[in-house]
């Protein structure tokens, strides 16, 4: 594989990974997760 394609695909993969992490991070703002403190108190 040519070097520029390798860099391009690596960049796309990194961007997708960042996007995925951002989406998951936003999912933590779900109101259901905040309904009861007990819901997160035992997740450790």
């Amino acid at each position: 594989m040519k070097a520029q394609w390798r860099w391009f695909l690596t960049g796309v993969a990194a961007a997708l990974a960042v996007l995925l992490l951002a989406v998951i991070f936003m999912a933590y703002q779900m109101p259901e997760l905040l309904l009861d403190w007990a819901n997160i108190r035992y997740c450790g």
């Binding site: 992490l21 998951i24 991070f25 999912a27 933590y28 703002q29 779900m30 259901e32 997760l33 905040l34 309904l35 009861d36 403190w37 007990a38 819901n39 997160i40 108190r41 035992y42 997740c43 450790g44």
Partner: protein, 403 residues
């Protein structure tokens, strides 16, 4: 990298599959707390009933880890992972049907605890460790830790979404299906009793040898502190923030920040362990944790300080895993790596149990978390001091051998 017993079972394949197994196993386990509210409401159980089963799960996970590791070292990791995955799936399905506290303790506590012991760090790290060169081992263990960290971060909102959409019983069965994916993946973990240095040593001899080394005890107790701090902070930080006048949303974002930065921290410290002294990095992690907690206590509480503290602690969260497991492999060799990391992990779980329980107990007795935070700082300093004299040199028995 070392050769494997089949051509397709390359170190890269083993690392990727190990990461997926850790993501599924650690991730599904992390959703346990989400079921507290709906299950206790439906069954009319107290929260203590639920949390008792989770406490059993944590202890069984820790107690069974050395045995799961020994099984993997002796009879192959593939069979161990497969058997543990079956126990995990059965535990989740029976948990969805549990009608009494006893059946709940046995399913959510014992079966899932046993399942976790064979599908998480001790066994998976052993396989990955055996298939990577010493130069790349720490990085590989760091990537695997990041996989487990990603699971903890990613599966929690998925679990909540499943509960909200399908109800808690169906959600448990669906999560069991997710864990079931580990079973076919276990085939890639079958490392064919890969022969490594120390092959002539028995389990008892390996345990006696490790027990006679001060460094092993230092690793055990520093990992105990790691468990204490992570369990205490994850369980009690949100409540502490609310008690300090912040909103529940800030607490939840802090939990998410710990999860997010944990992924990067696991990778960075794994990579660092391959370039710098592992025990020095452990000293750094524990010292930085003490400093971070101290600064957090001294600064006026605000949303910014809470989130910065969560991000810093996230970076320092599971970075201890590749370093501690890497040191076990480096000092004692690879033959019984799974069992010995299992023993060290038992220290982590005992610390977790104490951190979770003592945090609540101290709050109930004093009406504040201040003493628990102070204890956490003191233990962190002790862990840093404990890690400093660790002798990183391989034992003479396998010093010249290829691992």
């Amino acid at each position: 990298m070392s050769t494997t017993n089949t051509t397709w079972r390359t170190p890269t394949v083993i690392l990727v599959v190990g990461c997926v197994i850790l993501t599924l196993s650690m991730g599904v386990r992390h959703t346990a707390g989400l079921f507290l509210q709906p299950m206790t409401a439906d069954h009319g159980w107290s929260r203590e009933t639920f949390s008792f089963a989770i406490a059993i799960q944590n202890l069984v996970w820790g107690l069974a880890s050395p045995f799961a590791g020994a099984l993997a070292d002796r009879h192959g990791a593939g069979r161990t992972v497969l058997g543990a995955a079956v126990l995990y799936v059965v535990g989740l399905v029976l948990m969805s049907q549990a009608g009494s506290p006893l059946s709940f303790d046995l399913s959510a506590g014992v079966l899932i605890g046993l399942g976790l012991s064979g599908t998480t760090f001790a066994v998976i790290m052993g396989v990955i460790g055996r298939h990577t060169t010493p130069q790349k081992r720490s990085l590989a263990l760091g990537i695997a830790s990041a996989g487990g960290s990603f699971g903890q971060f990613a599966v929690l909102p998925v679990g909540q979404m499943l509960i909200s959409t399908y109800g808690w019983q169906s959600a448990l069965v669906l999560l069991a299906c997710g864990v079931g994916l580990i079973a076919p993946l276990a085939y890639a973990m079958a490392d064919g009793h890969k022969v490594v240095s120390g092959a002539g040593q028995s389990v008892a001899e390996a345990l006696r040898e490790a027990g006679g080394e001060r460094s092993f005890h230092y690793l055990f107790w520093s990992f105990f502190v790691c468990g204490f701090q992570t369990a205490f902070i994850m369980l009690h930080l949100p409540s502490y923030l609310v008690d300090s006048g912040l909103t529940a949303n800030v607490g939840m974002t802090a939990v998410a920040l710990i999860g997010l930065f944990n992924i990067f921290g696991s990778f960075i410290f794994g990579w660092g362990g391959g370039r710098y002294s592992k025990k020095n990095l452990l000293v750094l992690i524990y010292a930085l944790r003490a400093v971070a907690i101290l600064i957090f206590m001294l600064l006026p509480m605000s949303t910014a300080t809470a989130w910065i503290f969560a991000a810093v602690m996230g970076l320092l969260w599971l970075g201890t895993v590749p370093l501690t497991n890497g040191l076990v492999a480096q000092i004692f060799g690879l033959r019984y790596m799974s069992m010995l990391t299992g023993v060290v992990f038992l220290g982590h779980q005992l610390g977790s149990f104490l951190g979770a329980w003592l945090g609540g107990r101290i709050f109930d007795e004093t009406g504040s978390y201040l003493l628990a935070w102070g204890l956490s700082i003191g233990l962190s300093v002790l862990a840093a001091i404990c890690s400093w004299p660790i002798d990183e040199k391989p034992l003479a028995r396998h010093a010249g051998a290829t691992v």
